[in-house]
Every structure is written in structure tokens, then in C-alpha cells.
């Protein structure tokens, strides 16, 4: 698996360290909880997509979403410290707490956070600006302004968990959660922190939803057809938005063993790269000539992994691009069911920043059940591509 594999090669801080998954926490439209909640939700496979109830969508082309019930989240929040947080920060804090409890980790300088998000806290940005337009400078709230910076979720989670190691936020369409997990794994492998909480978060809100629908970015996009999330299907016609937060606890193997942690799986490899493409475009004719992902996949044989979770979310351009890339880079494996097409979780939870972490969680649980190494693959409009190989630790 060449230079991209963790656990091999020399790094600047000595032998590169093996990275394992020791906990997970999620707050999504289907379930709320740790690994014991994620596993049955995935097994059930029930869709949480339904007509949006939180705001009216009169005259809007799209109407579906996968919404989180805040009544399920409220018990996880601290009434004193979390009450003033914005909703997306509350989702983040709740999911990070669940992951920390699931893994039984404690805070301190050894603990870091990586949060992936597609949209951040646009609700707060809109609220902040709307108050100005109503009342002028006197309407501006110094309490809301910090939420408009996209690292507010990571900051809130760091304060809640006393995570004083690196705290990084990555902004990326479609594969924000996968990228956060990969970046966190690299930080652990490189010795920046012994433990990282990594995943993603996004929330549904009316202005964002309406804008995306007006731009034709949501099912049914510009054309006709039935609204719905149908990744890789011939009649796919756009993604359906979801919301929620999902996080994994990544830990250095030795540290996890030393404290007797439950080890779900090992992140054997995490690579990400770019296929230079016009911004915001999905160009399925663009082959991956140079990215590290392509080189990593070309080293894999069909026996290296049993199944593949893909980032397909019903966006025809991105779905078709992913299929074409996997077919080119994994010509033998891509003929097997579970790989062509890959498995998609978007119909269950809707597209949001936490979905990538749920893919990694699903892969970890599959690997722990003896289903062999599992590949998590993703491609986004604009060309960002990622692959994670997750397997049972030996």
C-alpha cells in the first residue's frame, strides 16, 4: 500500500503511528447515540427523508429533507453552558459528547478536534444580517457574530470537552466528514495529538434550502421527475439535504490499548487529492491522472477490500463521476456488487457534513463484524477526491 499507508514508513516524529477508531457518536435524522445506536440504525436502513417540517417551502421546487428532532438532542445538552449556543453548535457538542462517552476519553492537551462542514452556521449569518437590515447598527448582536465564523462549532466542542490539542475545521462540499476523518487520522499518525474527535456537521435552514433549490442544486434539480434521493440510479435527479452531526474518536493504537479501550477498527489508510476541475463542476469525463487517491487505488487488488461506501448522493454529475473513476482505477473490483455501485448512506440520512463520518463509522462496524477491509471513497464537485481504507485491527 506504498507510502500512503499509516503504520508504515518513517515520519518526522519517528515511526508513524497506527490509528484506530475507539468510539462514535451521532445526532442525525434517524438516530441519536454512540456505536450501539449507529449499528442498528445502519442495519435497519430506513430512510429519514420526509417533507421538511421546520420551515415553509411554498413555491419552492424542493420539499424533502432529513431533519433532526431537537427533542432528542436536548437531554444531551448542558442547560447552563450550551443554552446560548447556536443550533448547529448544539448538534456538534451533543455528538462529540456522545463519541467521547462511547470511547471513554477525557479532555486535555492530548485531545484535538477536526470538524468538517459544507455550510457552517449560515443560519447565524442570516440572523446577524437580518437584524442589521431591520434596526441598523443597533440591531447587531456581538453574541451572534462569532457563530458566523465556520470554526465556531469546533470551538464550542473544544470548550465542552476541554480539547486543548489542535482544533481544525475543514470546509468541503459532499465529503466534508470523510476529509475531517482523514485529516484527523493524519494528525494522530504524525504525532500532533494522541486522540482526535473527527467528523462533520450541518443543519437545515430556510434561506440555505431555498437558495440551493433556486440554484437547482437539490432534487429534482432543473428538470422534472420525482423528487427523491436515488444515488447511482438511472433516474437520479439531485441530492436531498439532511442535517446532523456525526463524530468518531481516533486514537493512537498504543494509547488505546494501554487504557483498555474498545477498538472498533483501524484506519489503515487515508489519502485525499484533487482532480483539477472548474469550480463547482462535476465533470465525469475528467480522469484522475495525478492525485494520491488514484495511486493508492491502483495499488489495491480486489482482495484488499470487501465492500465500498461511496459519496453518491443522487447528484447525477457526481454519481456518474464516481462510478467512472472507480471503474478506471479499480477495473476488476468495480465489477463486484457492493463496489459497483458503491453503497450509499445518503438515502437514509440525507446529504450533510456528517455523512462522511457515518460512512467511516459504517465501514468500521462492518470491519469489526469480519466483513474484511472496507473502502470509503468520495468525490465532490470541484474535484476533491478521498479514499479511506478501514479494517479490523490485527
Amino acid at each position: 500500500m506504498s507510502a500512503w499507508s499509516f503504520g508504515k514508513g518513517e515520519g518526522c516524529r519517528g515511526q508513524r503511528r497506527r490509528v484506530v477508531i475507539t468510539g462514535m457518536g451521532t445526532v442525525n435524522a434517524s438516530t441519536v447515540g454512540g456505536a450501539d445506536a449507529v449499528a442498528p440504525a445502519l442495519a435497519l436502513g430506513r430512510t429519514a427523508i420526509a417533507p421538511v417540517r421546520a420551515f415553509a417551502l411554498n413555491g419552492c421546487r424542493s420539499h424533502l429533507g432529513a431533519e433532526v428532532e431537537m427533542s432528542a438532542v436536548s437531554p444531551l445538552l448542558n442547560r447552563d453552558t450550551d443554552r446560548r449556543l447556536s443550533r448547529v453548535c448544539q448538534l456538534t457538542v451533543a455528538a462529540c459528547r456522545l463519541a467521547a462517552v462511547d470511547s471513554k476519553i477525557t479532555g486535555g492537551p492530548h485531545l484535538g478536534i477536526v470538524v468538517g462542514s459544507e455550510f457552517g452556521d449560515l443560519r447565524s449569518s442570516e440572523e446577524f444580517v437580518a437584524a442589521f437590515l431591520r434596526r441598523g447598527p443597533a440591531g447587531l448582536s456581538p453574541l451572534i457574530f462569532p457563530n458566523t465564523v465556520m470554526n465556531a462549532m469546533a470551538a464550542a466542542a473544544a470548550i465542552a470537552l476541554d480539547a486543548r490539542g489542535p482544533s481544525v475545521t475543514v470546509n468541503q462540499a459532499t465529503i466534508a466528514g470523510d476529509l475531517a476523518v482523514a485529516r484527523a487520522a493524519a494528525l494522530v499518525a504524525g504525532g500532533y495529538a494522541s486522540t482526535m474527535i473527527a467528523g462533520g456537521v450541518d443543519e437545515l435552514n430556510a434561506p440555505l434550502y431555498r437558495c440551493l433549490a433556486d440554484l437547482g442544486a437539490l432534487s429534482p434539480m432543473q428538470g422534472g421527475g420525482t423528487e427523491g434521493c436515488r444515488p447511482y440510479a438511472p433516474d437520479h435527479n439531485g441530492p436531498v439535504l439532511g442535517e446532523g452531526a456525526s463524530f468518531l474518536v481516533l486514537e493512537e493504537l498504543g494509547a488505546a490499548k494501554a487504557r483498555g479501550a474498545t477498538i472498533h477498527a483501524e484506519v489503515k489508510c487515508a489519502v485525499w487529492g484533487n482532480i483539477p476541475t472548474a469550480p463547482h463542476k462535476a465533470q465525469h469525463f475528467r480522469v484522475d491522472l495525478h492525485s494520491p487517491v488514484r495511486r493508492f487505488l491502483e495499488d489495491l487488488t480486489p482482495g484488499h477490500f470487501g465492500r465500498c461506501y461511496g459519496s453518491g448522493n443522487g447528484d447525477p454529475g457526481v454519481d456518474d463521476w464516481e462510478i467512472a473513476l472507480l471503474h478506471r482505477d479499480l477495473p476488476e473490483a468495480s465489477r463486484r456488487p457492493g463496489i459497483r455501485p458503491p453503497l450509499s448512506l445518503a438515502p437514509q440520512f440525507g446529504q450533510h457534513g456528517g455523512l462522511g463520518a457515518l460512512r467511516a463509522a459504517a465501514a468500521a462496524l462492518d470491519a469489526a463484524r469480519g466483513m474484511g477491509p472496507v473502502l470509503v471513497h468520495g468525490i465532490a464537485r470541484g474535484g476533491c477526491r478521498i479514499a479511506l481504507l478501514i479494517e479490523s485491527p490485527r
Partner: protein, 396 residues
Amino acid sequence: MTRIVVSGLGVVSPYGVGVKTFWEGIAAGTCAIRPITLIETEGFRSRIAAEVPAPAVAGLVLSRRRSRADRVALAAAREAVADAHLTAQDRSVAALLVGAVGGGMLEGEAWYWEEARTGRRSPRIKALRSILPASHAETVGHYLGLAGPKETIIMACASGAASIALGADLIREGVVPLAVVGGVDVLTRICFMGFNALKLLDSEPCRPFDRDRRGMSLGEAAAFMVLEEADRCRARGGPIYGEYLGAGMTTDAHHITAPHPVGDGMIRAMNLALDAAGIPATEIGYVNAHGTGTPQNDRVEALALSCVFGEGSVPVSSTKSMVGHTMAAAGTLEAIATVLALQHSLIPPTANLRNLDPEVPFDCVPEVARPAPVEVALSNSFGFGGQNVSLVFRKG
């Protein structure tokens, strides 16, 4: 250990386009903070900032349909790549890490304002495609053909510094041989109004470390550098501006906007950076401070510097006194200022510093740049959410 050098620089700053223009500006101690022209400021206490000059933006080659931030980001990244003499083959294996916060919000705000004022759907809605910070990396990656790992890093005002630290880590770990790293931010209404609401802006050009300082001044910029394996750079005959030695990244986990009262996270970041660099604090000959000019930041940073280096032991200056706080770009812009200070053996000054705060026990190089044969220097960047990044560079 893999040695990493800085082999290319690119800047669009309040002085205009180009690294040379930027260095001439800060070396001369020229304050570029002026009345704001880009957005309406009626009714606000502070109405000044360090904007990128309009003629400089107008001269950029990227289509005007792209956001202002995308345009300045591409110009700076393009200069850095050209400066490093990177071939298409080099670029095809280069990582790209962009620190960003505001994204294309300036254009998004224009759309929102128009719809709110007219009550009608605005054709400006297409601008929303570029509203998110990730748009800069997509633009730069596409136009420059960068195919290595691509990331948009958001760590508030430490974003640009973090992109350097994380990009260097990809090189040290053997993932890529070189990385184009940087930061970009332009003035937005939300940012301007927000810092006004927090009462963190001075109505006069900011005065970091001055006894009478009253807050920061906003600025806008894009700054990029090329980091590269030293052996590779030498083998291809690339330029070497300086050597990247190491970084420290920490979080306060204390408060969303206020720094830790005794600078715990700042101290740990600086000490981690020195550890990673493998040098003692006594070897640092210059610190480019975060130095925003707010009473609280400067006091806590001085406290943290005293703890790490000892009182009065090292010259400290804030280039924000001249170009304002360029937010997500600041970390990279100040890293470039630090590298150029090493290269030119000249410490850029803290402009507008007339009466040093007695709580700041350092020589803050007031008003005039100072010749100094510095070999190793440290650059600090701190941000909302208690984000702390310190970087160490050695003369090339």
C-alpha cells in the same frame, strides 16, 4: 527528518499586487489603513480598513464574475507558483491548503441586500455558488493544475498559519514533495459589522502594543507560499527564501472570543513550535506577533511571550499596524513578512507605536524598521475559538 524550504512567495496586499510591493511597504513602515470604500460604513464607530487598492483588483486577470476573494487568491497563488519556477509536472503533485473564513460572502451579501431592499428575486443569486470558503481552493486548484491533497482550513484568524503547518506536515510525512499553502480574506459587511459590534475596532489606525491602543483595524489580502523538500528544491535549482523549521497548534478551550487569561494556549503553541524546530527559545531573534492592537490580545500575548522568551529578550513587532488584520490571510502574510525579514536582515516596524504599554516588556520596534542579522524567527497567529498557531523559520 525531511527539511522543508520556502521556494516561492505571492502576495496581494493593501499596498497592491506582488511580494516586492508588500515588502517595500512594510519595510518603509507605511500604514495602508484608510477610509473604507468597498462597503457602506455610515453609522459605525470605526470606518477605516486596509483595502486592496481598486486599481490592483481591477488589473487581475481572473474573470470579474468570480468573487473578489477568489480573484485575489488566484493572483497571489499564481505569483508564488511562478516565483518558485514550478513546472506543470511539479504542480501536478503539489498539495494545496487554503486558509479562509469569509469566502465569497461580499458578493453573497450584495445579493441578500438587494433582495431584502427590493423584495424581488435578484439575478445575483449565481454569486452564491462561490459564497463558501472552499471556493478559493477550487479556483486556485483548477487554474494552477494542483492535484495533490486539497484542503480549505478554517481556524479563524489563525487559518493562514495553520495551512502552512498542515501543508508542511504533508511534506514531512512523505505524502507530497511540495505544497502551495496560503490564506485569503477580503472585507465583508458581516466581518466589519461584527467586529464593530464586539467593539474591537479602533476608529484610528490600530496601534499594537501602544499604551493608548483602542482596538484593531481590518485589512484584506491573499498570501501564498510554496513549501518544498529542501533536497528537491536544490536539485531543480529553485529559489530558497528560508527554511520552515516547525509549528505548534493548540486550542485554549476557554472562550469563543476571549483569549485564555494567562495565555495558556499561546504558550503551549510557541513551546511546541520550538520543540518541533529543535531549537531553544534563546535562538529566536525576532517574533512577528499576532499583535492586533486590542487591549486584551496584546496584553495576553506579551504575557505569553514573557513566559516563553523572558522579558525583553527578543524584538517583537506587529505588521498588522501597517496592513491591518487580514484575518484568514494574516497567518500566511505575516509568515511571509517573517521570511523576508530573515532574508533582508531587517525587522519590520510596529507603525503608530508612540508610547509602549508598560505591560509589554519588549522592544516592539516602533515606527522604523531595524537592521538586524536575525537567523531564526517565530510568527504567531491566534484566532476566535482560542486557536493558536506558532511557526518557526530559519534564514535560507
